[in-house]
């Protein structure tokens, strides 16, 4: 069983190859792409998406807005993390609409602990969400919801939805895509 499914979007093949090597070795299923267009089709089975901010012709926030739109349509609960080596940028992750930031992009040693932490955090929130539903339906056991993020989330910040029109809508998943998707992320019944 895989440790988790991770999508990495970056314009550098070299970066992607290194990241894929590190994360695959750690047991994650990794899908990498330099293509921002159509990346949304990988989201359905994805736990975590790392998105580079500075990509030629398009910035991470725009990519994110599109991906998030696609994720909500497909019912994906993927967490979106800003993937950067720029600390000043990382601090502002929330204002762009990201769930967090994976810093020190160039340092392979620091990648894995951060990815693990991001997935742990996602899991904690999932449990909290589940427990909330259960407790509402009468089950007493619960892990209370985690404290809100110290920074405001991007909803309504103007970065996302207002620019969405500039970005092509996620294209429908074709049969070929389906095959690719299944090949990269074999879906196991949960």
């Amino acid at each position: 069983m895989s440790e988790g499914r991770i999508l990495v979007i970056d314009d550098s093949e070299v970066v992607l190859a290194k990241v894929k090597a590190v994360l695959s070795q750690a047991g994650y299923e990794v899908q990498t792409t330099t293509q921002t267009v159509g990346a949304a089709r990988y989201l359905r089975a994805c736990d975590l998406a790392l998105v580079d901010f500075h990509m030629p012709g398009i910035d991470g926030a725009t990519v994110l807005a599109s991906l998030k739109g696609a994720a909500s349509t497909s019912g994906s609960s993927c967490a979106f993390y800003l993937f950067t080596s720029d600390t000043d940028l990382a601090i502002k992750y929330a204002s762009f609409g990201f769930d967090g930031a994976i810093m020190h992009k160039g340092d392979q040693d620091q990648l894995l602990p951060q990815v693990r932490a991001a997935l742990r955090m996602r899991r904690m929130r999932e449990i909290a969400r589940k427990n909330k539903v259960e407790s509402a339906s009468g089950d007493g056991r619960m892990i209370p919801a985690p404290p809100p993020s110290p920074l405001p989330t991007a909803t309504g910040s103007g970065v996302g939805p207002t620019r969405r029109t500039n970005f092509p809508p996620p294209r429908p998943v074709s049969d070929q895509d389906e095959e690719e998707l299944t090949a990269d992320f074999p879906r196991t019944p949960t």
């Binding site: 993390y81 600390t87 990382a90 601090i91 502002k92 992750y93 967090g100 930031a101 994976i102 810093m103 040693d109 620091q110 602990p113 951060q114 693990r116 932490a117 991001a118 742990r120 955090m121 899991r123 904690m124 929130r125 449990i127 909290a128 056991r141 892990i143 209370p144 985690p146 404290p147 993020s149 110290p150 920074l151």
Partner: protein, 772 residues
């Protein structure tokens, strides 16, 4: 305890003293007033009765004077009592007159004159006197008048005053004295021991051992005893606690892990291990935040810190059943980066302290795994290096040792040339010229390329670094900037590259078992060698002066090939062949180093393949059958190249002999040192009866050397049915023909059920041969 002290403290001693004093004061006041009152009463009473008597007598004596209205007589009667020192006033009045008819006033006795308010007969005690009033009655009962006499109480009052003062003094004195006595007693019996107890208790509170002296067997004494017992118990318990604490600390301190305990809110509490101070810094950790300890200076966007913060926020709110799930979401590792480049890797383990259904505190065990991680990395990098070395070795073998040696030599030369250029520049205290830099660059660039070809990564990296430095120098020269006069860093790097080359030579050549042989050899084109051989053989056969035998042998030796070269491929192939046939087999090679004539090599390769394949296919039984026969499951095939008896082990000598006796020898005889190749297996062997029967069927005569020879018969061996029955495949006739063509022969021997043996040897004589 501190909370129980009232705001205004009044000691029990003060209270008791006040109480005793007040009580005694009341008692003595009562006694005083009672006794003084009575004393005065008795004085006045005595005076009253005396006064009454005097007044009665005076009234009787005045009867006649009033009866006769004789005022003078009345006055005379009054005067008679003037001698009484206590009488201060007396007056007589008649019934008919309002004013007194006779008055006695004693001077200086403070008399009060005038008639009394009431003329009723009475004797009354006043403040300072006694007033006695009497009626004077005639013989016939007629009221004649009255008399009043005042007796002074001054004397009695003085006595009373004196007595009262004395009583007061006594009362006050007794009050104080008794109070003092009682207070003293109380102090000695109760207060002092109580104060001792209080003091001892206070000392206990401060943590010093304390006890009280018990002098009595009363309640206080028992209290003191109980206190002493309690104090002893407390001291004992504290000693045990301290010892337990010390033990715990010792256990904690001796643990490899940093152990800290934190409660809700993530604050550290209680004891922590010595390792905790080593890892998290000196000073008290109590009250410090676990979040800050594990993620110091973390940015708000630090994902690891955020994940732990969220974890911490829920860790103390969960039901104990959920701990396991939560623990799996805790960080397993954290890297503390204090200084740049200084990393500490901690593996983390969280354990809960449960109270009721919830988590009260969490213990963190942090193990410093920095060294372990460093070691792992070192091992990994060593493994990588080793892999690179192995690759270099493979490349070396593939390219030929000579090529490698010439590469090393070339590198050495280039390095030496480059160093010489730098040396001369340094000696002349001048910077390298552009031409010199270019030349060194060329040298180094070549070294880099060659190093890459041989997969010598260290050398390649070193060359690349030098190249970079040179490129820098070149660009400075182009920009017209002056170079530093000495290029010591370049020299150091070149020295290092030189060292790498020396090490490579040492490792791959000097220390290698084949190194010496490799060094002894030169590469010669095989075509050229065969040409020489041809010339030699032609010269030998031609008429004219005979070529020296040594020359012939030396040429044969040069052309000879080791047995291993032809047989090596079998080692890897045999298990695969066996598996394909549902069998298990292994091969054992012997005599790889024995040199064989050059022309045997190509034939031998095919022959050995044929023989060994046959052995696997037809000789070796299936594992179950072998087991039934009591043989090991894995069949064994031995392929040996031996020098027949008494041969020296020197390869060159052997080859010489082989060369002489083999192809070169033409129709020579097998000498005692000639090599023999034996292929044997421990399989089922040949079914000679069947082979013979088959031969008879086909009308083939059985050879002199026995029915086994029939397997080389082309008519018989090409028949499919026999191949299976005989336990040998087809084509042995072809093998024999091939061998015969180069002057070698093949024979077979077999023992039913134990195996077959094929022997290849140079032909002795008799059989026809083709020219080589």
């Amino acid at each position: 305890m501190a909370g129980g002290v009232p705001s205004r403290f009044v000691s029990i001693g003060t209270k008791l003293s006040a109480f005793i004093f007040a009580l005694l004061a009341i008692v003595f006041a009562f006694v005083y007033f009672e006794s003084t009152e009575k004393a005065r009463q008795s004085l006045v009473d005595a005076k009253l009765s005396a006064g009454a008597m005097v007044a009665d007598i005076l009234a009787a004596s005045l009867e006649a004077a009033l009866d006769f209205n004789d005022n003078d007589a009345a006055q005379a009667e009054l005067n008679r009592i003037a001698g009484n020192a206590d009488v201060i006033y007396a007056a007589v009045w008649s019934a008919s007159a309002e004013t007194p008819i006779a008055v006695l006033l004693t001077e200086g006795r403070g008399a009060i004159t005038g008639m009394p308010a009431s003329r009723e007969a009475r004797t009354t005690a006043l403040e300072d006197r006694i007033e006695a009033v009497r009626s004077i009655v005639g013989p016939k009962g007629a009221k004649l008048g009255g008399v009043v006499v005042h007796f002074s109480l001054v004397r009695e009052n003085a006595v009373y005053e004196e007595r009262r003062r004395r009583l007061l003094l006594i009362s006050v004195g007794l009050t104080f004295a008794l109070s003092a006595l009682l207070i003293g007693l109380a102090r000695r019996i109760v207060l002092s021991p109580l104060m001792q107890l209080a003091e001892a208790a206070r000392r206990m509170e401060w943590g010093t051992a304390a006890s009280v002296t018990v002098n009595s067997d009363d309640e206080i004494g028992r209290l003191g005893g109980a206190f002493n017992a309690m104090a002893a118990a407390i001291v004992d318990r504290e000693r045990r606690l301290a010892s337990a604490r010390a033990n715990l600390q010792e256990v904690l301190d001796n643990m490899r892990q940093a152990i800290v305990v934190f409660g809700p809110g993530g604050r550290l509490e209680g004891a922590s291990s010595r390792q905790a101070a080593v890892i998290f810094g000196e000073g008290s950790l109590d009250g410090r935040s676990i979040q800050t300890l594990l993620y110091p200076d973390a940015l708000t966007c630090d994902t690891e810190a955020r994940a732990f913060e969220e974890w911490l926020a829920v860790a103390f709110d969960i039901h104990v059943d959920q701990w396991e799930e939560l623990a799996s979401l805790a960080p397993r590792e954290v890297v503390l980066r204090r200084e740049p480049g200084e990393e500490m890797v901690l593996s983390l383990e969280f354990r809960p302290f449960v109270e009721g259904d919830s988590i009260a505190r969490v213990m963190l065990l942090a193990t410093d795994e920095t060294d372990k991680r460093r070691l792992e990395r070192a091992v990994l990098s060593q493994e990588k290096k080793h892999a690179q070395q192995m690759a270099a070795m493979r490349r070396l073998v593939a390219s030929g040792a000579q090529l490698f040696l010439s590469f090393l030599g070339g590198v050495k030369d280039r390095l030496a040339r480059s160093k010489a250029l730098i040396d001369s520049a340094n000696r002349a205290s001048r910077p390298l010229s552009a031409l010199e830099v270019d030349e060194i660059f060329q040298n180094v660039h070549t070294i880099k390329g060659e190093a890459r070809a041989f997969e010598m990564r260290d050398l390649e990296a070193e060359a690349a670094a030098i190249e970079e430095r040179l490129a820098e120098m070149r660009s400075m020269q182009r920009e017209g900037k002056p170079l530093k006069s000495a290029a010591f860093d370049l020299q150091t790097r070149l020295d290092h590259a030189d060292e790498v080359v020396t090490n490579a030579r040492r490792m791959f050549v000097d220390a290698s078992p084949i190194g010496a042989a490799v060094l002894d050899q030169v590469s010669v084109s095989q075509t050229a060698l065969l040409k020489v051989r041809e010339i030699v053989l032609a010269g030998r056969g031609a008429k004219g002066p005979a070529l020296p035998e040594e020359l012939v042998e030396a040429v044969a030796t040069l052309a000879s090939r080791p047995f291993g070269e032809s047989a090596a491929q079998l080692v890897e192939a045999v298990p695969g062949w066996a598996v394909a046939k549902g069998k298990q087999a292994e091969i054992e090679l012997e005599g790889r180093e024995v040199l064989l004539p050059q022309e045997l090599s190509p034939v031998l390769r095919g022959a050995l393949t044929h023989l060994v394949r046959n052995a696997v296919a037809h000789g070796i039984e299936r594992p179950d059958e072998r087991e039934r026969l009591g043989k090991p499951e894995v069949g064994k095939i031995r392929v040996r190249c031996v020098v027949s008896e008494g041969a020296s082990t020197g390869a060159t000598a052997m080859a010489r002999r082989v060369g002489g006796a083999g192809a070169l020898g033409g129709a020579g005889t097998l000498r005692s040192e000639d090599p023999v190749i034996i292929v044997e297996d421990d399989g089922r062997g040949l079914d000679l009866d069947l082979i013979r029967a088959r031969a008879e069927d086909l009308g083939i005569p059985v050879p002199e050397r026995g029915p086994a020879e029939l397997v080389f018969n082309s008519e018989l061996s090409t028949a499919d049915s026999v191949s299976d029955i005989a336990g040998r495949g087809v084509g042995l006739a072809a093998v024999r023909a091939e061998l015969l063509s180069i002057g070698w022969e093949i024979s077979v021997s077999s023992e039913r059920g134990k195996g077959a043996r094929f022997t290849l040897s140079p032909r002795r004589s008799g059989l026809p041969t083709k020219a080589a």
